[in-house]
Amino acid sequence: MKTVSSLLDPHWHDRYKRISKLNIRSSIYDVTDRCNLRCKGCFFFSSNEHQAASEEKDLSKWHAFVESEMARGVNLAILIGGEPTLCPDRIESFYRRLPTFCATNGIIKVDRNRFPDLMVGISLWGAADDEIVLRGKDTFAISSANYAGDPNAYYLYTITPKQLGKIENNIRRIKDVGLKVHMQLLSNDEGVDGFFWQPSELVAVRAEMDQMLDSYPHTVISSKYYHRIITTGAMCGRAFGWMECPSVTDALDTRQPRPKRLTNFIRWASDLKTMHRCCTSETRDCTTCKDGAAHMSWVMVNKRDHMNSSEDLQNWIEVYEMFAKLYRFIPW
């Protein structure tokens, strides 16, 4: 029988032991249905998820809800939107009790006196011209001024096909404001004109992402195995899709057989009652979905499938470490 210690040298075994018992149990929460931007390609609005439920406005119900989520075993709250920073009281209901991550467009600065170590992921969709086309304004100019040098913030850089060959410029300007960056890809079926990945472009972007990791190892939080998985949609000889996705809401998961999945995962709408099908748009074609967290989790929940060789298990460790860093379970 292949064991972890038979596959890893002491250095890698120590890295494995640092993460093997973290037992991260995340769920995702729509904090609000509102946003201060309307970005082309944002699944929340393009698939009408903002109309799925009417947001709960009674703050006491948010506090009670978070207590019930903790009782359900959740130990990582991932706050998305709309734009969560429009509702700091709701953010606080999570932050007081749980490790909490807040996705934001960075237009509104999180009050660091109130949320000193809240992990903030700032969305970025490219250079200024891309941002203006997709989001109506160059958000980087605002978000980088708000968060420059913040040790608890990083950029979530969504790469589109139009940014091929230009990724480094964006990485460098993030580095220059003293922040870190995690790269992800825009999914094809968001239906934005001219932003559709062709197979050859996915090969090219993988090479460019690898190069960024090599060139900016202290700025880019990523792994080459993750780049491979997200650009090919393949892992351990299997293709990503509905029957493989790990981040389907538990109560709505009727798949048979059930794949390896995130334990007790739910994505809640902002009425605190309605559940979305999965971590992204229900209208998305799962075979071409590029959701970064879903692909990371896909690797993470399939640990034993990565125990065939030292290289496979090291790849698994790197992806798990990346996730744990992005959500503050281990230091950068």
């Binding site: 029988m1 064991t3 972890v4 494995y16 018992k21 929940v301 640990k303």
Partner: protein, 88 residues
């Protein structure tokens, strides 16, 4: 008691080998003190699967809160023997 424990360990080893499709190991060669998480790579979903089979076979319920401490075959075997003897 010890015979009972050893038999239980062997049966749990068999369950884990079958459920997780482990290769190159038998119930007899499965080290009862091997750390199932750190060494075999078992995760909480695997443990949930194994817990269901144990529930059906031994008639005991394993609390999810107890998963983190069930780290070896010997500990799981002892847990089962104790639960059965206390009639839980």
């Amino acid at each position: 008691m010890n015979d009972n424990l050893e038999q239980t360990i062997l049966r749990v080893a068999e369950i884990i080998i079958n459920e997780l499709k482990l290769e190159d190991v038998t119930p007899e060669t499965f080290d009862a003190d091997l750390d199932l998480v750190d060494e075999v790579g078992i995760d909480s979903m695997d443990l949930a699967t194994i817990a269901l089979v144990i529930r059906d076979e031994f008639g005991i319920r394993i609390d999810e809160d107890d998963y983190p401490k069930l780290t070896t075959l010997r500990i799981i075997g002892g847990y089962i023997v104790e639960k059965r003897s206390s009639g839980e």
